[in-house]
Structures are given as C-alpha cells and as structure tokens.
C-alpha cells in the first residue's frame, strides 16, 4: 500500500531544494527583522505623520495576500522596466529570487513591526522612568532598557512569524523558484503522484519548523531567568 521506495525517492528529490528554502527564509527574515524594529520604533515614537505612514503600510500588507504581493513585484514591476533601468535596480527586479526576497521582506516587516510595537508598548513605564531618572536618554535608554525588555516580550510572537515565513517561502515556487515546493511540483508533473510527494514536502516543512520552535524555545528560556520561579535548590550535581 505505502510505497516506501517512492517516498524515499521523493525525499531525495526534494532535499536539494532546502538550501534555497533556507536562503529565501533567512535573508527575508534578516532584512525584515531590521525593518520591523525600525518601523516598530517609528510607529511608537515617530509622531503622528510617521506613525500613520507605518500604520498605512501595515494595513495594506496585512490586508492583501502574499501571493498577490509576489505577483506585483515579479510580474507587475516589469511594466516599469525603463524606470527601473534608469534607477539601476532592474538587475534586482529581473531576478525571481530577488523579487521573492523583496515580497517576503516587505510582508514580514509589516507583521514584524506590529510585533515589535506590541513589545515596546509592553515595557513598563516605571522602568523607563527609572532609567531616565538615573540619566539615561536616547540610544542608551533604548539599547540598555527598552529594547531588551521589548525583545523578550516580542520573542514568542516573533517565533510564530518565523514559522509562518518558512511556510511562506513555498509561494516563491509560483515564480519559478525551485525550492522544496517548486521541486515537489516538478516531481508531481513527472510522476503524477501528488499525494506522496506533498506528504513528503509537508513533512520536510514540519521538521524544519519543529527544529526552529525548539531553538526559539531555548533562546526564550535562556533570556527569561527573571520570569521563572526561583530556583528552589542549588543546581543538582548528582
């Protein structure tokens, strides 16, 4: 009934897509994280105009499907080729890889900025005041007090965003990216065995996200000794 030989073959076919899946996810998450912090901070302290611009950006990105956003970047921007060439950015928009990175980054930055904003809002006002009262302000206040507390608050929410982004990379297969899902679609067109191939593809994403959840769980634990119960005894040496 279950063709293990074929499952193994499907697995061997899809694994070469992993590096591209990881590249798409890690690059867009890294760029997106930087933008998330910037937008999140702008939305919090940027005054009315700036925070409204950020809010509008978040509104547009959250309210539209990622697939549509990818299509706009990949197919839509081609219409403006002369302009893009003049600005010297056509090289980027010509490549499906970079189109996927742009769409994924813009998307995760919108969700991420909301997570960061929530984290910043959750920093107790009293602790900020105590920092000001001892002479901290500006970057020092952010670096030492506000961001470390906000980061700890935001991490659980952000881990969810990381998992979503791993899965979102599969949409890049629609614009010819041969990552795990792209290879799966190709294999199906050769074998017509959609069930087995997608089960294997799904299993691969499941394992990746399991490992990521574990890793973030460890980081959270490591960063939150202040939230745990007091150690009741000395660490056991037994």
């Amino acid at each position: 009934m279950i063709d293990f030989a074929f499952l193994a073959e499907a697995f061997r076919t899809l694994v070469p897509g992993l590096p591209l899946t990881f590249q798409l996810a890690s690059l867009s998450l890294a760029l997106g994280a930087v933008l998330s912090v910037l937008f999140g901070v702008f939305a919090t302290i940027g005054g009315t105009v700036v925070s409204r611009v950020v809010a509008f950006y978040v509104f547009c990105i959250r309210g539209t499907p990622l697939l549509v956003q990818i299509f706009i970047v990949y197919y839509g921007m081609g219409q403006f080729r002369p302009f893009l060439q003049d600005w010297g950015v056509w090289l980027i928009f010509r490549e499906p890889f970079w189109c996927a990175i742009i769409a994924l980054t813009v998307n995760t930055a919108a969700y991420g900025s909301e997570i960061v904003r929530g984290g910043l809002k959750s920093v107790p006002a009293g602790q900020i005041e105590a920092a000001k009262a001892c002479g901290m302000s500006g970057m020092l206040l952010y670096r030492r007090i506000i961001l470390p507390i906000a980061f700890r608050q935001a991490l659980p929410g952000y881990s969810n965003e990381i998992v979503l982004m791993i899965k979102a990379t599969s949409l890049a297969s629609i614009i010819t990216m041969m990552e795990v899902t792209g290879l799966a679609a190709k294999l199906i067109s050769e074998t017509f065995r959609a069930f087995e191939v997608f089960i294997v593809a799904g299993g691969i994403y499941l394992v990746i996200n399991f490992l990521i959840a574990q890793a973030i769980g460890r980081i959270e634990y490591w960063l939150s000794p202040h939230l745990r119960d007091m150690p009741t005894a000395e660490p056991n040496n037994a």
């Binding site: 009293g126 602790q127 105590a130 000001k132 009262a133 001892c134 002479g135 030492r144």
Partner: protein, 265 residues
Amino acid sequence: MRDNRQAEPSGKARPVISISDLRKKFGGLEVLKGISLAANQGEVITILGSSGSGKSTMLRCVNMLEVPTSGTIAIDGEVIEMRSTRQGIQPASRKQVDRIRSKAAMVFQSFNLWSHMTVLENVIEAPVHVQKRPRQECIAEAEMLLAKVGLSAKKESYPRHLSGGQQQRAAIARALAQKPSVLLFDEPTSALDPELVGEVLKVMRELADEGRTMLIVTHEIAFAREVSNRIVFLDGGRIEASGTPAELFAAGANERFSRFVSRSN
C-alpha cells in the same frame, strides 16, 4: 540647635537643591502654585501633605520627570536651563538634564527595578553605562552597597523573586550607586505591606544619620518627625507650613498641619 529655615541661599552655604517659585499646571489645573525650597548639604527634608497636595509632582519636577510650567531648579548650584516652546517651557539641553538626573537619584513608590536584570546588574547599570566608570570598581562598590542594605545574599536574584521591602532596598542601593548629591524619595513605603515598611525606613534612617542630603515625600508622619531636619507641609499646591519637627508639632503651630496629622493617625 540648628535652625534650617535660615538655610535659604545667603551666599555662604550653597544649597544642594534650590527650587524657586515652582509652578506646574496640568491643563487648567494648577497643582503647584509657587513653591520655593532649598536643601543644604546633609539636610533631610520631608514633604508631607494629603493626596493631591502636589508633593509628588514637586519632587518629580526636581529631576524634570515632570516639566514645570515655570520656576527654576538648581542642583549643586547649576540651574537647569529652560527654553520657551509652543508647548510651554522645556529643558534647553537634554545633556544637562541627564547630568543633573545622575546627581539627583530617585527612589520610586513602585520600586521600578529593571525586571530583566539581577539585583547586582540593576545597581551597577547607571555607574557603568551612564557614568562610564570601570565595571570592576562599580561591582565592588555595588557589593558594599548591597551589604549595607542587607541584600548581599540576593545580588544574583531577579526583582520578581524579591519581596517588596527587598526590592525597595535594592532600589535604594541602585540610587546610592550613582553617588548622587541628593536622594529623592517618592513615597518609598506606600506600596509596601505594613510589615515590610520598617526595613525600608531603617535603611533610610541610616542614610539620614550618615548626613546624606535627602528630599522625602512620605505619608509616614512618625518617621518624618523623627529623621527630618525640616518638614515642609504642602496644602493645595502651596507650602502651608515649614519648620523643624519640634516647631511644627508644637501645639497650635499650624492649624491645618495639626488637622492633617490628626486625620492621618
């Protein structure tokens, strides 16, 4: 006997803190209606008054956590420079405010220890990162301060794992680590369970005995009477009465103060 009311700026004894004609409005509500006060080196001044009398606001104006509507504040003879903006006056220099805040350490009603740092990290934070003193020196000093407030055993604990009294003592150690010219206490025992008040007052009494300059907003009248060089009684945003505890508690010294005291007991 010292008469601290003579401690107004006379040219000889330069006050550590001097507040003159301090006013603060919140919208249309004038909370402080012209407060003038000076604290000399080593003086312990307690500010008493019922809720809403403006005593916390006054204290928070000293280090610009609350920006006054008008008036001047000087610490160690340095006047905090203000400039006019459309929203009223604002401190002219963020740098100067930071420097002055570093010299006027504050202890808060709700402790406000940084929750993600251990007690020791809380204490060395300002010396290391604001005052840029050598870390090892700050740690050694922090350990002395924690011993002084009776928290040596808790230096690696996080604030969440401490009782309210312990947190407030840690906050006092944190304030002392700044080597401040003056300590500002904003109702330091008001958030504590009754049985924990004593341990905090004990530490504060020791600091007063050391000759530290302190400005204390409190509801602990007995404590104020015992440790203060001078008591300032605020009523409706004005200084209604001011003097040594002996003077103020003398029968018939000030009717409103007497009524306040009898109400509070």
